[in-house]
C-alpha cells in the first residue's frame, strides 16, 4: 500500500443520548495520564497489604455494596442463561482458594485450567489469584502434546479440567507429569477417574470465607504461553500489578462503564480471554457475557440483541465470518444497545471496519497488543477518528516507536543504540518498558527474555509504520510465527510432531493466507525414499498431527515435496516456502543452498 489512507477516515460525532466516553479527548489524556494515578482508581488490599487482582476484580465491589450486581451471564450451548452475581463469584472463588489451602498448594505454585468456557473456570481463576498462586489457562482445542509441554514448562501443581478432556487428552500424560499433584474434575459429580478429585465435592466441603493474604504487587499472578519461531512455547509471567493496566485499558480503550453489558468473545485459553474475558470487565464492574458455544452467525447476533450488549470485543476471523453470512442476517436483529465494538488478534482489514458501519451501525475499533504486553497497547478510541486498517495510537501512558532494522531482522544501531525511523518508514514496533502489565519473565528462560529488550526498548517482533499523525499501521510479522484465527502458532512445534511419523524425513510449516482465518497452517513434507505420496499417507500423517496437536495447532493442509529450501547453516527457509506457495518473487536467495 503506497497511500497512508486508501480508505476515508471515519469521523466521530457525539452520539445523541449515548454515554460520554471515559476519555473524551485523547491528546489531553496523553498529557495528564500517569500509571500512578491509574493505580489510585483501584483500592489495594485493606491495611495497605499490597495489590491483588482478585480483590480488585470482585471483593472490593462486594464490600462497596455492589454484591448483587450481575458479574457473569453464562450462556450454555443449549438452555437458559445462568447469572452469577459479584457476591456469588466472591463466594465461589473463596471456596476455590480454600480448596487450594486444604490441598496444601503453596504460594506461587501454578494452577492450570484446561476447560471450555464454563463458570467453574472463572471461580478457579479468581480463587487461584486470591490464594497467591499463579493462574495459567490452556486452550481446550489443544491436543495432548501442546498441553503436556505447557504443563511441564509451567511446572503445574494443580490442573482443573473436565472428565471428557481428561479422558481424551490428559490421562495419557500423567506418567510424564510427576509434579502435577492434583487433577480436579469439574462436572464429574462425586465420581471421577482414578488419580483425580471431584471439584464439586471439594468446593462443597470448603468455606465461603477467605481472607486474601498480603500480596506484593510484583508477585507472579498469571502465566500465559506464547510461541516463537524456534524452540518450545514460552511462558510469559505477569504480576498482580498488571491489574492497573487491565483496569485502565478497559476504561480507556474499550470504554467500559460500570453497569455495562460486555461481551468478549475470546476464549480464556488465550491472553485476550483472560485479560478481557475475566479480569478487566470485573475490575470495571460490568456484566460479562460468556458464551459456551462456538461461533454461529445467527446465535451471535441474537446474543447481542437478547443480552443487550453495550460493548463488544471480538476478533477479525469472527468479523469476516459474519461478513460471509451477509448484512441481511444482521438487519433482522436489534443491535440498538451496542455502543462500542473493538477487535484484536490480527490486523482488521479496512473492508471489515467499513462493513460493520453499514451492517451493524457502528465501525469496529481495531487494537494491538500481545501476550507479553498483558493488555491493550495501541488502540482506536471512542473519541478518535478511525483510519480503517490502522491499529490506532498508543494508549496514554504507553510510548511506542518504530525501530530501524536490516534485512536479517537485526536492529540497525547508531552509536550502539537502536534508532527510531520517521513517519511512513517500516521498522520493528517497539515499546518503552514501564507499563504495569509488561511480562516480567519467560519462565525459566532468562536469556530468551533478555533478547526481547534492546537499548531501553521492548521489541515486539511485529513490523509496522507510523503515519504523520501518529497512527500505527501493521505491516507483518518479523519472524516465521503464524497467526491463525488470531492464535499464535510456532512452526517448529508443528514440524517436530510431523517428524514423529516414520515416513516423514523433514517438514516445513508456514501460514498460508486465508480470507477468513488470516492464515491457515500448511505443512510441506519430505517423505523417506520408497514411501508412497498418496492420499492415504497424507491422511495418516494428518491424523497423527491432529491427535497430538489438536485442531488449533495441527496443519490444515499437507503437501508432499521432494526437498525443502535451506540456508547454508541448514535452517529451513520458511519465507521461501511461503513465497513459492504464493507465487511471489523469491527475493534474495544468496544464502540458499543450491537446490
Amino acid at each position: 500500500m503506497t497511500s497512508t489512507f486508501a480508505w476515508p477516515a471515519i469521523p466521530k460525532a457525539p452520539r445523541p443520548g449515548g454515554a460520554e466516553p471515559n476519555m473524551p479527548d485523547y491528546e489531553r489524556e496523553c498529557e495528564t495520564f500517569t500509571w500512578e494515578q491509574a493505580e489510585r482508581e483501584l483500592d489495594g488490599l485493606p491495611g495497605r497489604a499490597g495489590l491483588n487482582i482478585a480483590h480488585e476484580a470482585v471483593t472490593r465491589h462486594v464490600r462497596a455494596g455492589h454484591g448483587g450486581d450481575c458479574a457473569l451471564r453464562w450462556l450454555p450451548r443449549a438452555g437458559a442463561p445462568e447469572e452469577l452475581t459479584y457476591e456469588e463469584l466472591e463466594r465461589r472463588s473463596n471456596r476455590f482458594a480454600n480448596v487450594l489451602e486444604r490441598l496444601g498448594v503453596a504460594r506461587g505454585e501454578r494452577v492450570f485450567c484446561f476447560t471450555g468456557r464454563i463458570p467453574a473456570l472463572y471461580a478457579a481463576a479468581l480463587g487461584t489469584l486470591k490464594h497467591g498462586c499463579v493462574f495459567s489457562p490452556l486452550f481446550s482445542a489443544f491436543g495432548p502434546e501442546p498441553a503436556r509441554q505447557r504443563l511441564e514448562i509451567g511446572d503445574a501443581r494443580v490442573l482443573v479440567t473436565t472428565p471428557a478432556l481428561y479422558e481424551r487428552k490428559i490421562a495419557q500424560l500423567r506418567g510424564s507429569l510427576p509434579d502435577l499433584r492434583h487433577v480436579l474434575l469439574a462436572g464429574a459429580g462425586e465420581g471421577g477417574a482414578a488419580g483425580t478429585e471431584s471439584l464439586e465435592r471439594l468446593l462443597g466441603e470448603a468455606s465461603d470465607d477467605y481472607e486474601i493474604p498480603a500480596t506484593d504487587p510484583e508477585e507472579p499472578a498469571l502465566l500465559h504461553f506464547t510461541s516463537g519461531t524456534t524452540g518450545m512455547p514460552k511462558g510469559a509471567v505477569h504480576v498482580h500489578q498488571a491489574v492497573v493496566a487491565h483496569h485502565a485499558t478497559g476504561r480507556l480503550a474499550l470504554d467500559l462503564h460500570a453497569g455495562d453489558v460486555f461481551w468478549c468473545t475470546a476464549d480464556p485459553g488465550w491472553v485476550t480471554g483472560t485479560s478481557y474475558g475475566i479480569l478487566s470487565p470485573l475490575t470495571n464492574r460490568v456484566t460479562s457475557v460468556v458464551d459456551a458455544a462456538e461461533f454461529d452467525a445467527e446465535r451471535w447476533y441474537s446474543t447481542l440483541e437478547e443480552q443487550q450488549v453495550n460493548v463488544w470485543y471480538t476478533a477479525p476471523t469472527a468479523v469476516r465470518m459474519l461478513m460471509r453470512a451477509g448484512a441481511e442476517l444482521a438487519s433482522g436483529f436489534d443491535l440498538g444497545r451496542l455502543r462500542f465494538i473493538a477487535s484484536v488478534g490480527e490486523p482488521l482489514n479496512p473492508e471489515a471496519v467499513v462493513w460493520a458501519e453499514d451492517a451493524l451501525g457502528l465501525p469496529i475499533h481495531d487494537n494491538w497488543w500481545q501476550t507479553e504486553t498483558g493488555g491493550i497497547m495501541i488502540s482506536n478510541y471512542a473519541c478518535m477518528e478511525i483510519r480503517p486498517g490502522s491499529m490506532g495510537k498508543p494508549l496514554p501512558g504507553v510510548r511506542a516507536g518504530i525501530l530501524a532494522r536490516d534485512d536479517d531482522g537485526d536492529l540497525l544501531l547508531r552509536d550502539g543504540e537502536p534508532e527510531e525511523v520517521g513517519p511512513g518508514v517500516e521498522g520493528e514496533l517497539a515499546l518503552r518498558p514501564g507499563w504495569p502489565s509488561m511480562f516480567r519473565a519467560y519462565l525459566g528462560e532468562e536469556e530468551r527474555y533478555r533478547r526481547c529488550f534492546a537499548g531501553g526498548w521492548y521489541r515486539t517482533g511485529d513490523l509496522a509504520r507510523r503515519d504523520e499523525d501518529g497512527y500505527f499501521w501493521f505491516v507483518g510479522r518479523g519472524d516465521d510465527v503464524i497467526k491463525s484465527a488470531g492464535h499464535l502458532i510456532g512452526p517448529f512445534e508443528v514440524e517436530s510432531v510431523l517428524m514423529v511419523h516414520p515416513d516423514v524425513v523433514e517438514a516445513g510449516v508456514i501460514g498460508k493466507p486465508d480470507p477468513v482465518a488470516g492464515s491457515r497452517i500448511k505443512a510441506f513434507v519430505v517423505l523417506r525414499e520408497g514411501a508412497e505420496p498418496d492420499n492415504a499417507l497424507r491422511r495418516e500423517i494428518l491424523a497423527l498431527a491432529r491427535t497430538r496437536l489438536g485442531p488449533a495447532v495441527a496443519p490444515k493442509e499437507i503437501e508432499f515435496v521432494a526437498d525443502l529450501p535451506r540456508t547454508r547453516s541448514g535452517k529451513i527457509m520458511r519465507r521461501l516456502l511461503k513465497a513459492r506457495e504464493l507465487e511471489l518473487p523469491e527475493g534474495d536467495t544468496s544464502t540458499l543452498e543450491t537446490a
Binding site: 494428518l542 491424523a543 490444515k556
Partner: protein, 84 residues
Amino acid sequence: MTDAELRAAVLDSLAEVAPEADPGALDPARPIIDQVDIDSMDFLDFLVAVAERTGVEVPERDYAAVDTIDACVAYLAGRVGEPA
C-alpha cells in the same frame, strides 16, 4: 446418489479433514463437534469436501441443519441432483 452413497461421501469428507476420527465409533445422531475435535475452519473444509463429492453447497444459514451425520445425509438427499 443413494442414501448409502451420500453417507459414504459424508464420512469420506470427514476423513479428509479429520482422519483421526473412527467412523465406526461415531454416533450418526449426535452432533459431529461433540464427538470429533474439529474447529470452525475444519467444519468449513468438511463442507467444501462434501460439495466436491455431492455437488451440493451448504449455505451458511443451513449449517445448523447439517450438524450430525444423519442430518447431513438427509439434507443432501433433498438437494442432490438439483440444478445449481
